[in-house]
Amino acid sequence: MSGFALSLFLSLLCGWVLGSELTFELPDNAKQCFYEDITIGTKCTLEFQVVTGGHYDVDCRLEDPDGNTLYKEMKKQYDSFTFTASKNGTYKFCFSNEFSTFTHKTVYFDFQVGDDPPLFPNENRVTALTQMESACVSIHEALKSVIDYQTHFRLREAQGRSRAEDLNTRVAFWSIGEAIILLVVSISQVVLLRSFFSDKKTTTTRVVS
């Protein structure tokens, strides 16, 4: 029994994970690809959102093991794509910022493969779920979608906040810069005018003598 529990423990410890969510930085003129081995018939979802940078857009491309493009979009801010794997093999998806010359972008993506693993792998699951258990399952699913909405809200808020902070620094620099330019221009105007009249005076004296 303890051996069985140990094997169960080990199996869950080894990370039987079927969903990845990452946020990474994509420098300008760069392309970043991710790969995943998927078995046939698995329902997968790829969704991505650009968090910061430039016009908040990125190119995305999803290819199956034979190189056929399943999804290709240029300059998209956020999107979600669901597909069912038609063959076994390595699927590849790439994010490209090659169209941008100097802005680097932060991209968030969530790649879900199949369903979540069962909570308690019960080998002797013969009977159907009780009412309590099915209520727990539906609450769990609802909470998962709440967490998903929260993530998207957080990313939108990050976008808005980065724009607001940009605006704040720009206003600060611009106001100081403009005050300095005003002072410099007005003083140089006066000095220039003075120099016009000073030169005329010397030339007239020379002509007279």
């Binding site: 869950l12 080894c14 990370g15 790969y35 909570l119 308690f120 929260q150 957080r154 005050a179």
Partner: protein, 223 residues
Amino acid sequence: MVSVRMQPCVLTVLLLTVCSTFVSSLYFHIGETEKKCFIEEIPDETMIIGNYRTQLYDKQREEYLPATQGLGMFVEVKDPDDKVILSRQYGSEGRFTFTSHTPGEHQICLHSNSSKFALFAGGMLRVHLDIQVGEHANNYAEIAAKDKLTELQLRVRQLVEQVDQIQKEQNYQRYREERFRQTSESTNQRVLWWSIVQTLILVAIGIWQMRHLKSFFEAKKLV
């Protein structure tokens, strides 16, 4: 009797072999001196567990094989204030854990520690990475075994953890909204002050220019 006792051992061995070939599914390629950084924006007191596994391209067999023991990955984690909270070197396969103490953007950076260029031979290192945040980082089998919970109790425990995470995230959202509001109010103040100061500077400079030029022309006997 013997066969019944053998089964768990066989299962363990089977699962261990599965373990060694199946840490996580998503992978990407990394160059020798390349540093790959991932950002995790999390509320405070949230645990993050990262698992990675590396594979090196073997030219002779033309496939990716598990990397040699000498090749490790250097993992560095920075908190929102740019302070390093984890900086360690792990082997070709590793697992790192940390708990955030301040809410915000944490940066997880990975780069290989190889100094022998011959190992890479111009190829790329394949890194399988998986990062679990908050509630997903919980190992429910371990919790069930430790607290001796029934299935229903375990499910309820999972729901409690999820609700906890939602609450932390909402708290964090409130803190971020506060920062956003402060930034907007600061911009508002700056624009207001700038327009007043600019007008004053303009008027003052105008007056000074006229007075200065008037006295200048009077001195030159042109007025």
